[in-house]
Amino acid sequence: MHKLTLSEMNQLSDIDLIHLILLNNNSAISYLFYNKCSSMFNYIIKEVFSYQVEKDELISELYLYLCNDNWKKVREFEGRSKFTTWLSVVAVRFFLKKKISMIDSKANCTPYSESAMHIPCKISHASMIERMDLINAIQKLKNGRDKFVILSIEIEGYEAEEVAKQLGITKANLYNIKKRALNKLSDILKDYNYANE
């Protein structure tokens, strides 16, 4: 099998990519971890761990987890979502679990419950029904950046500057995205009778 170029990799469908990974194709594996999902894994690690960690080491551990027993975990993927979405869920859960185990072994780390384990303050006072509607509406936002901005600013309460930095865009552009995302969210929430709220 020839070494696939980055261009060829970019053209692969999820099924083709998984197929190559299951065949232990080094190009495909490198592409997945160092190109396609590198930023995603870095982001997840940054969100999960509130202190300095060895990102490469953690990503290597994730790789070992995924490829263990002839890629058993990857073989569980049923294709009901994008492969990368599935991978993000798997990675989030893996790193959260990893963090808890690290806390258990190193008591000097910041407890995880201090940040992400709590419902963010902006919606902590909302009723259960309101939370459900809000999550439902956010989940219906199709644009990844819209979703990111709303979750970060409106739910988690991050400063716009910080979110803009994370996305690598200007603050002005972030406000554009936010404005449009809120409009979309508002349209969706109208269905839940939140039109005037």
Partner: protein, 463 residues
């Protein structure tokens, strides 16, 4: 860990769960902080997946980069072109340069027609997937189209920078899109001069492509996308239609006459992210018509430095040698003037466009006789523009039969056709002298066609 499986949570984030599953997952997420955290981080993380497609992607079966304005015939690249910009394109690298560009705006805005009165061009986006063609926002089709063209002219600018610039100059506002009269202003602001056209024809489009110009047009995206292979994308787009009006801007990349009976227009569409979407010409014309056949053309061809596929463009002549099966000179000198005359007659427009396939495909060398016969009813635009003396068609005696039943019009048409045949025989001889056998054969074919047209005119009289 909660009891939502990896598969189910991922499906939920992608919006692929059933109503019942959605409700169940939602309940868990809303009540369980750890589940909410997982949902939150994973939902945000997918924003960082690198979905970018390679810049060097190529058009299948055409062998040319689709972003180039090209005309293809017989499966062979006929058009790749270059001319130097006589104005160097400034690099728009940062917002600090905006004051400088503000001056340019005032200086060059004269080439933009400010009197257009079209609805706002908005656009839909295929959410969730990005590539270097796809617009990032749902109403930046015109901005993205201009960005792609600016990049082709060596202006290194991003969509976000242009959005920012457009907002500063009040030619775009989030949620409203870009008004047609403002399409092209970002090109001007960044040093690429352009001209707006309304009521353009496919001949104008072809002429611009043949001269290596970059083209943005307005279309009704519904007519374009909601037909054929693109229909499955439709429910992923936000529908913001305003009646039958145009709502989308995109780039015309070329016309493919590989199959003369099935001419396709190649579009670079920021809405779908396709670099080279190919549409049947009839479908394209319907979609384009709703914008009042609006288009913006650059005043110069895209430079070779940023468009290597234009290596074969005849930059000394400023155009490609052939348009489909037709020599450029013939198209420019005979077809274009006639098309501009004919376009003013609304009843002729349909035939005008249907004649296009035949001419570009090499089946005919002029407009159908039915269409030419409408010329006497057609208001004139610019008589001085024509290479042929069209005034003869407006002679009041044009259709009055003489004693032998021969109308002045018939005789003149026959004379005209014979003159054209002779012209092509000369061109054929010129081609033979210069060793261009293919072009010579084409010209001889045109000459034959014209002789036949002339015979038909006189034959009609006999009958």
């Amino acid at each position: 860990m909660n009891n939502i499986s990896d598969e189910l949570l991922a499906s939920f984030i992608d919006g692929n769960t059933s109503d019942e599953q959605t409700s169940q997952i939602n309940q868990i997420i809303s009540a369980d902080p750890s589940a909410f955290t997982e949902f939150l981080i994973a939902s945000k993380a997918i924003c960082f997946v690198d979905e970018a497609e390679p810049i060097e992607s190529h058009l299948p079966n055409l062998g040319i980069a689709a972003s180039s304005a090209s005309i293809v015939a017989g499966g062979t690249l006929l058009a790749s072109y270059l001319s130097h910009l006589h104005d160097s394109s400034p690099i728009f690298g940062s917002s600090e340069n905006l004051s400088y560009h503000a001056d340019r705006m005032d200086q060059h805005s004269h080439s933009i027609n400010e009197n257009l009165n079209h609805p706002i061009m908005e656009n839909f986006v295929h959410y969730g997937e990005t590539n270097h063609i796809q617009q990032q926002y749902d109403d930046t089709c015109a901005i993205k189209s201009q960005q792609l063209i600016l990049n082709d002219f060596g202006v290194n600018v991003t969509e976000d920078q242009l959005v920012h610039q457009a907002e500063q100059f009040h030619i775009y506002s989030p949620g409203s899109g870009t008004a047609p009269q403002d399409v092209g202003k970002l090109l001007e602001l960044n040093g690429v001069h352009c001209t707006q056209h309304t009521n353009a024809t496919v001949y104008d489009l072809t002429s611009a492509l043949a001269q290596g110009e970059k083209i943005i047009i307005g279309v009704d995206s519904g007519e374009l996308w909601n037909n054929g292979i693109m229909s499955h994308f439709m429910n992923q787009f936000t529908d913001r239609f305003v009646g039958e009006q145009a709502d989308h801007a995109l780039i015309v990349a070329g016309i493919d006459t590989t199959s003369p009976d099935d001419v396709k227009v190649i579009l670079t569409d920021p809405g779908t992210g396709e670099e080279a979407a190919r549409y049947p010409i009839a479908q394209f014309l319907d979609a384009w018509h709703d914008s009042g056949n609006f288009m913006v053309t650059t005043d110069n061809p895209a430079p070779l430095a940023y468009n290597p596929e234009m290596i074969n463009f005849s930059y000394s002549e400023g155009h490609i040698p052939m348009i489909g099966a037709m020599p450029y000179e013939y198209f420019d000198q005979h077809i274009m003037p006639l098309s501009q005359e004919l376009v003013t007659d609304p009843t002729a427009l349909g035939i005008l466009h249907s004649d296009f396939d035949g001419m570009i495909g090499g089946h005919s060398s002029s407009f159908s006789p039915d269409l030419l016969s409408t010329l006497e009813h057609t208001p004139r635009i610019d008589p001085h523009h024509y290479q042929t003396d069209m005034n003869q068609f407006h002679d009041p005696n044009f259709h009055q039969p003489d004693a032998n039943g021969i109308t002045f019009g018939n005789q003149h048409m026959a004379d005209y056709y014979n003159g054209m045949a002779e012209h092509h025989e000369h061109l054929a001889q010129f081609d033979i002298d210069h060793g261009n056998q293919i072009s010579a054969q084409n010209n001889l074919n045109y000459a034959d066609d014209y002789h036949n047209h002339a015979i038909d005119e006189l034959h009609d009289i006999d009958q």
